[in-house]
């Protein structure tokens, strides 16, 4: 019965959160909610790791201070507030020695494996930096400290996102909050739990860890099986958790952006990123792709616009890759997707030129072409996860085991 206490605490958190968000008013609401979020976060993820938890609190305090001082200033100063969370992410991830004096721990090991608990840090950095843009674009006013803490440490979205916007979060506390049907939210949680715990576990029997890490030789057939089932496992695991996060947030009364939209139906890699980890795609589009592509087109000239966009795509997806983790394998993952989207970009240009507008429309509506495209995209995206799931030595071991 080891599940009883965590389940009871989760339920208490959700019901307590709903009461606070829906029933309380005034400044006490944010303070009480902050107490709930910070307490829940500590209990679930940082118990016994007081130093790490304190570092997270210090990080949030510094980020808030910079936000408070610079986010509403004119000129380049808001960029200080924008880059502070990202700089913290880079520093903690790539220079953990700044936080740990024992350099012996890092000898021969990846920084990710040592030291600082990186729970949700990537998502936190992106949420907080995007908040600055939302303030700068006039979408929302600068939050108070407790609301900022709640936005940073909102328990359902802390571990793996979605990367919710502050506008969404703030609207829950407005005079006319979004009404989310309780039964819908509850079913989301239930379905998410089944995907995460049951379907994910079943698929995990045939992923790289479940299938290959057994010191045995394997037939070549096992490689595509492992690729496919890792893709399915990752979907069940990630989208399942997001379903639970969105459902729990929904019960509390806080709308959270969707992160998945039937990704296996993607017909090309670009479409894939409109359906998979949507909040990351939106962040990258708004924060990196849009401004960078404009800059590149200006630099290279309108005649080279297609190539400028292709270059921008490559940069964006390399960043997507390394955002996911430390290691050359993550960079390779990003590069594979960069290649996929760039190919799609040029292919689309080619088709439009060759087929014309009506022909291109017919091409897109042809169901056989669509089926083939979906199949190829599934294989491509599933195959690319080989780099996401394994370091290069692990990939070598997998191939060495194939007979």
């Amino acid at each position: 019965m080891t599940f009883v206490i965590p389940a009871a605490i989760i339920l208490a958190y959700i019901l307590g959160g709903r009461f606070i968000v829906r029933q309380l008013t005034g400044s006490w609401r944010q303070i009480a909610f902050a107490g709930l979020n910070v307490g829940g976060l500590y209990w679930f993820f940082f118990s016994g790791h007081n130093t790490r938890f304190a570092l997270y609190l210090v990080l949030i305090a510094i980020q808030f201070l910079v936000l408070w001082l610079y986010s509403e200033k004119a000129g380049w100063l808001p960029w200080l507030a924008f880059f502070t969370p990202i700089a913290a992410l880079i520093a903690i991830r790539y220079f953990p020695v700044l936080f740990y004096g024992e350099t012996a721990l890092l000898r021969g090991s990846q920084p990710l494996q040592r030291g600082f608990d990186l729970l949700g840090l990537s998502y936190l950095a992106f949420r907080c930096s995007r908040l600055v843009l939302e303030i700068r674009n006039g979408l929302v006013k600068r939050p108070g400290f407790f609301e900022y803490v709640n936005f940073c440490f909102f328990l359902p979205t802390m571990p793996v996102g979605p990367i919710n916007s502050f506008v969404n979060f703030h609207n829950a506390f407005s005079k006319e909050p979004v009404n989310i049907p309780l039964d819908r939210a509850a079913l989301r949680i239930l379905v998410g739990l089944i995907k995460f715990e049951f379907l994910g576990t079943l698929c995990n029997q045939l992923t790289y860890t479940g299938l290959f890490q057994d010191d045995h030789p394997h037939p070549w057939m096992h490689l595509p099986v492992g690729m496919m089932f890792y893709y399915l496992y990752l979907y069940c695991n990630f989208s399942g958790f997001c379903d639970m996060a969105i459902g729990a947030a929904g019960i509390i009364g806080i709308p959270v952006a969707e992160n998945f939209d039937n990704p296996f139906a993607a017909r090309n890699v670009k479409d894939f990123w409109n359906r998979w980890h949507i909040t990351l795609s939106v962040w990258m589009r708004d924060v990196v792709f849009s401004p960078l592509s404009k800059f590149m087109v200006r630099m290279m000239g309108p005649a080279q616009a297609n190539h400028a966009i292709a270059l921008t795509i490559a940069v964006v997806f390399l960043l997507v890759g390394i955002w996911h983790g430390v290691g050359w394998n993550f960079a390779a993952y990003g590069a594979v997707h960069a290649l996929g989207v760039v190919i799609n970009h040029y292919y689309t240009i080619f088709l439009k030129k060759k087929l014309g507008r009506e022909g291109f429309k017919a091409y897109n509506e042809n169901r056989w072409i669509r089926a083939a495209a979906i199949g190829m995209t599934f294989c491509y995206c599933g195959g690319s996860l080989l780099f996401f799931a394994n370091t290069f030595p692990q990939i070598r071991e997998i191939f060495a085991s194939l007979r």
Partner: protein
């Protein structure tokens, strides 16, 4: 917030998927499952000597004189080549002695793996130990049940267990279905038992290849090897060892050297212990319960067992062991630690020492029953 399903059809498909997955073990039955050897060839060395078990159970054909079977205490407790050599000398022919060992205690694992063994090979004597570990209470089902428990093969073994435990085993077979289905489409490749580069025991645990040790796991590790400040391994044999005569076979004369009682076995564990004994009886195997001492009982003047096994399991089970106090007499605390790699497992030194003392008693029991 979007609903969980975009349409009723999608919800129905999801429900159908869950329903199908839950029913898969029933649908597959026995006839649609891949052969049982596929199970063993898909389990990692780190979980036990399963690749070796695969070869010994499903490929080797001859009779086995003595089979040591059980979880890690016996897997690491016996120097199998030594026992084989001694038995060969006694019999005047090449004896066949093997160890079938794995990680993780529990009578269910003992029963199901013994069942596979006895269905494929004739075994004269089964030596096992009480695999119920109070210090590390085994889960029921065993964590590897999704691998070797298949509803189509093993459902009848559940009869008599509580509904919750039966449901748990059924769920284990649900979780094991993906691997079984894959084995149907693409059978496993046989393991290369002597490929040292892929044997985690050899690479990481300084062990001799179990395949070369007739199944025994022989680790060359100092005490508390898994801790940063562990003792280094050094070859050691007690200068003033105990005598083989200190080994006791339970009888009215030696019963003062045994003590029975303490924690009761949970009903599910007892269920499988009984089934194991019935299985051995049905296959005409002699049963010997061997007491393998752990570090915490080093001062014990008696051999402690949970139950008086012959009465509890209604079977003729010979019980044998060495009171730990006698086994470790004349040894300092430091010397005793040189025999173990942790609280419960002998290293190479302890394995060799214990085996030389217990083997005469084992062989005399073998002799008695197999004349």
């Amino acid at each position: 917030m979007r609903p969980a399903f975009s349409s009723t059809g999608q919800a129905a498909a999801f429900a159908l998927l869950l329903f199908s997955l839950l029913l898969l073990p029933l649908i597959m039955g026995k006839s649609l499952l891949p052969p049982r050897e596929q199970i063993y060839s898909s389990i990692w060395w780190a979980n036990g000597a399963y690749p070796y078990l695969d070869q010994q159970i499903f490929e080797e054909k001859g009779d086995i004189d003595i089979a040591f079977i059980g979880a890690s205490h016996i897997w690491q407790g016996i120097d199998t080549p030594y026992v084989q050599k001694q038995l060969s000398g006694k019999l005047g022919r090449q004896a066949v002695v093997r160890t079938f060992g794995w990680g993780g205690s529990g009578y269910d694992a003992l029963y199901f793996i013994a069942q596979d063994l006895l269905e494929h090979r004739k075994v004269r004597t089964l030596v096992y130990y009480d695999v119920y570990d109070e210090e590390d209470i085994p889960r029921i089902p065993h964590v590897l049940a999704p691998r070797w428990f298949r509803f189509g093969d093993n459902a009848e073994a559940l009869s008599g267990l509580s509904g919750t435990v039966q449901a748990s085993y059924y769920f284990a077979s649900v979780l094991g279905m993906p691997r079984n289905l894959l084995c149907l489409i693409s059978p496993n490749k046989p393991a290369d038992l002597f490929a040292l580069s892929t044997n985690c025991w050899v690479i990481k645990q300084r062990a001799l290849n179990p395949a070369g040790q007739l199944g025994a796991l022989t680790e060359m590790l100092g005490y508390a090897a898994r801790l940063p400040d562990h003792a280094p391994y050094m070859e050691y044999l007690p200068a003033t060892p105990a005598a083989p005569s200190e080994a006791c076979i339970y009888s009215p004369k030696t019963k003062s050297q045994f003590e029975f009682g303490g924690m009761q076995l949970p009903p599910a564990q007892l269920h499988f212990a009984r089934k194991f004994v019935e299985l051995a009886k049905a296959h005409g195997c002699q049963l010997i319960l061997l007491h393998v001492p752990v570090l915490s009982e080093r001062k014990s003047p008696v051999i402690r067992e949970h139950l008086f096994w012959p009465d509890m399991l209604h079977a003729d089970i010979a019980m044998v062991g060495i009171p730990a106090a006698k086994l470790f007499s004349n040894l300092t605390e430091n010397d005793i630690l040189k025999l173990y790699c942790d609280q419960a497992h002998f290293n190479k030194n302890g394995q060799a020492y214990f085996t030389t003392l217990i083997t005469p008693a084992l062989l005399s029991l073998y002799d008695v029953k197999n004349k």
